[in-house]
Symmetry: C2
Subunit: 356 residues, 2 copies
């Protein structure tokens, strides 16, 4: 690994005051190029510009995949990653489905740790805040021919993540547009999945909702995801979520929440869940919560669910009553090193990994 | 429009000898940037590099759309476009579905004509050859947050298109993977549609096929597209193709072929077509042709269709017998200015549109 340190750090304590997500990048980035059938030597260098022509393959044919991760700083100053092997494995599952080369584990893991170590001052110590980590791979060949690219860039970027305030969000159940096809790329963290979701989300916003709850494309009767997150529904005291499939992303937060919930004694059901069931549970008063779970925001507890022309208002639960908020607190405490880690999920980033 | 001419042209007659598609770019490119809610002034300048960071939005969230077009040179030296308004309209349909800004007609059309005029020596005069034109738009904002980009690049690139030799191609009918969802982006010329198709095509190649015939994602019983082209099936003396839909691209070549076929007295049916029907027609000896139609290759007459473990060999028809080859000849003759243009499809590119 080549290390090219920034001459003068751009860090100031004010970087933690940002309110937007994903636009304030730390000092360094990791780059690794794939060419002639193999990965080159990774390099960590100052975050900045690269040369591409408008013939860059990803702009035309969309071979792009990514992961969302975070680095956390405990009160003792230790910096942690959270289950990074899950992101590594999923990135390579995405790569296979998008006909892209898999990234070797040592490039991903050693690169990630070295980068976070080097920029550890960018990891905020405030509880609930973190440094967002973005491993990404996209097609860079200068060729406008409809085939898999012969060249790729794997990069890891890091951006300060603000402490999401709990803006109440509402969601609209999809009854016209879809996110994923059977036999498609829904399970992959593929660039095209996001591009296809923006317009239906735009339409949902015009109806007064913030996000879309995706349903199956054939019948719109089964609930699949919410926004860019996995979705969980609480009916009575049962927490229900759809099984992962080729249409549904295998979320790291989803998996962690399910394990945490079981440990906390919450009854969990992983099974298909219908729109009708959610609707009926609302009518009978048993629908207690619907929330999205994902790395960026951890938990989004929805205040309302739109179904056709109806807006189903959800009850306002206290943080102590809400499964979503209980799980969020337990997960963040574990991630930040405040609580024990019975699952072995925290991975400490050792200091001075990088000799420059 | 700003014109910045290349200091010394890279053109030599040898550029027409290339055998690969989409990698040899002409002297100039058109660029136009969208920022702060509006399109800037387009600029034509030497083809080359731009600055982007790895946080370029399209690499993460896949907002990218494009068109495929060609410029043709008649024997009198005139340069023609073919139905450019169809590509303009479709690009903006794609833009809406991908939540991207529409491009104004004058930027698209005036820019296209000025660019082709300026690089008219790059349009080969050999019958069957052309200069490939690639209008493309993708998201350029430096932001890794899952929302529509606030900045876009619209570009037109041009690349010499070789005269495709008629390598016999075979296709595999999809029975596991899919290209498009109901309520998805299949009708759009969206980057992600291509990315999702490469791996199933890769698998088809391992089975000895060149391309995939896409079917509906729910049942795999209806034929939709072939490779990156629309597909036409000839049973007996009837030419059948699926209606366009939200899952099927509204191909310019497809539409032109249907009009040409009708004019030539070929019986055309635009209706849903099942895999079973194609299979049965092969068994009864009535399946005469299956071919893909699209801008890049015009017509691909397939020699075999794979269905499950069976390889259905198609009859070898002479160019005079084959609907695919008859239509291809008629279309290319029209495009190149060899034949009359009863449809008004040819658009002449006037000379000296550009003052530099």
């Amino acid at each position: 690994m080549i290390i090219e340190k920034i001459k003068e750090s751009r860090f100031t304590p004010e970087v933690f005051d940002i309110e937007t997500f994903g636009t304030a990048f730390s000092d360094h980035m990791l780059l690794c190029w794939y060419k002639d059938g193999k990965w080159g030597e990774p390099i960590i260098k100052p975050y900045g510009k690269l040369d591409f022509t408008p013939a860059i393959s990803v702009g035309h044919y969309g071979q792009g995949i990514f992961e969302g991760m975070k680095a956390y700083k405990g009160s003792n100053g230790d910096v942690y990653l959270f289950r990074p092997e899950k992101n590594f494995e999923r990135l390579n599952k995405s790569a296979v489905r998008l006909d892209m080369p898999e990234i070797p584990e040592h490039i991903f893991m050693d690169g990630l740790k070295a980068l976070v170590d080097l920029d550890r001052q960018w990891v905020p110590a405030t509880h609930g805040m973190s440094l967002y980590l973005r491993p990404v791979m996209f097609a860079t060949e200068e060729a406008i021919t409809a085939r898999s690219s012969n060249e790729y860039l794997f990069a890891i970027l890091t951006a300060v993540a603000p402490n999401y305030y709990n803006k109440p969000l509402s969601v609209k159940i999809a009854d016209r547009y879809s996110r994923a096809a059977n036999g498609g790329v829904g399970f992959a963290k593929a660039a095209g999945n996001y591009a296809g979701s923006f317009y239906p989300t735009h339409l949902a916003r015009e109806e007064g909702y913030d996000q879309v709850v995706w349903t199956d494309d054939a019948t719109h009767t089964f609930i699949e995801e919410a926004g860019t997150m996995n979705v969980m529904v609480r009916i009575g005291d049962k927490l229900i979520t759809a099984p992962t499939s080729e249409r549904i992303l295998d979320g790291v937060t989803r998996d962690s929440m399910l394990q945490l919930a079981t440990k906390l004694g919450i009854e969990v059901e992983v099974r298909k869940i219908t729109v009708q069931e959610v609707y009926d549970a609302h009518k009978s008063g048993e629908l207690k919560e619907v929330f999205g779970v994902g790395t960026a925001v951890v938990v989004n507890n929805y205040v309302a669910v739109g179904y056709g022309d109806e807006r189903l208002e959800l009850p306002l639960l206290s943080p102590e009553e809400s499964y979503g908020q209980i799980l969020k607190k337990n997960l963040v405490d574990l991630q930040m090193g405040v609580s024990e880690d019975p699952f072995g999920w925290r991975v400490k980033v050792e200091e001075n990994l990088v000799e420059a």
